[in-house]
Amino acid sequence: MINEKVTQKLVQVHRKETLSQSVITACGIAAALLPFLMAAFLLVKGSGTFWDFGHSITEFLFSAQWKPSDTMEGGGQVGAAMFISGSLVTCFLSLVFALPVSLAAAIYMSEMASPAVQRLIRPVVEMFTGIPSVIYGWVGLTVLVPFLRKIFPMPFGFSVLAASLVLAVMIFPVITTMAADAMLAVPKSWRDASYGLGANRWETIRNVILPAAQRGIFTGVVLGLARALGEALAVAMVIGQMKRFPTSLFMPASTMTTVIANDMGGPWKAGNTAQPCGPWACCCL
């Protein structure tokens, strides 16, 4: 009797384990499948420009004529070169601004600061990654743009420079924390060996720490670049969103993300760009 009860209990426990294992496995598979499903969905939707409307990839990537028709018939032009170049230029500039500061901060955090200072600075830098992009954009819009307009000869203040600076601030903590982690991961014995050979601190940093941590630093840079490339809101608030090539630091431009963020809600279905005209017309009346 007792044995039967124990056996039943064990069977119940086993069933519960099987159930929880199945749920966990399903969640894991779903998490792994999700990016592929998204990729497939994007591939189907994104290839419509080429298959359904007959445009070429060359036209899309290299042409500067962006006049897509808002009809099912098509017949417009879909040259996105100015948005692609806008994205690349702003990302590259933000990297140019952020990388030296990030590296310096990472070297200070990992090599020079005392443990007490490290415990203080690290959470502060990491806190930057959690700030929503709209805050960055808002500060850029209200502080940076008027400031830039005051000190540089630019007509609007909204510019590639403003967008690059905002992006630089946004990617700074990503690169800094990754680089600092990579430098801290360099074994202490390597430092000791360098000092033992007569190298001073700067020589140790330059010849031992940075080469040993270069892959981690590189990962941080690429992650920062990915964040800069995908950022839409903060950039949209300060870049001016003018559909032109980023030929000047002091002039507005557009990036891929700002164009998507601006226009995706409009042409949801054919002819919908005209829809906002309705309420505007009512206001005018």
Partner: protein
């Protein structure tokens, strides 16, 4: 297909962003390395 040429062009921009992000992730996996592994190797 739902949406006009404008919508399709925006989806294509989205696809391009996805491809670039994918390439960046591929670069990280190929050339980058977990810094913590350095300690393990030590």
């Amino acid at each position: 297909m739902e949406g006009g040429e404008y919508s399709a062009a925006l989806w294509t921009l989205g696809l391009l962003l996805f491809v670039i992000s994918f390439i960046l992730i591929f670069i990280i996996h190929t050339f980058g390395k977990d810094p913590l592994k350095l300690k393990e190797e030590d």
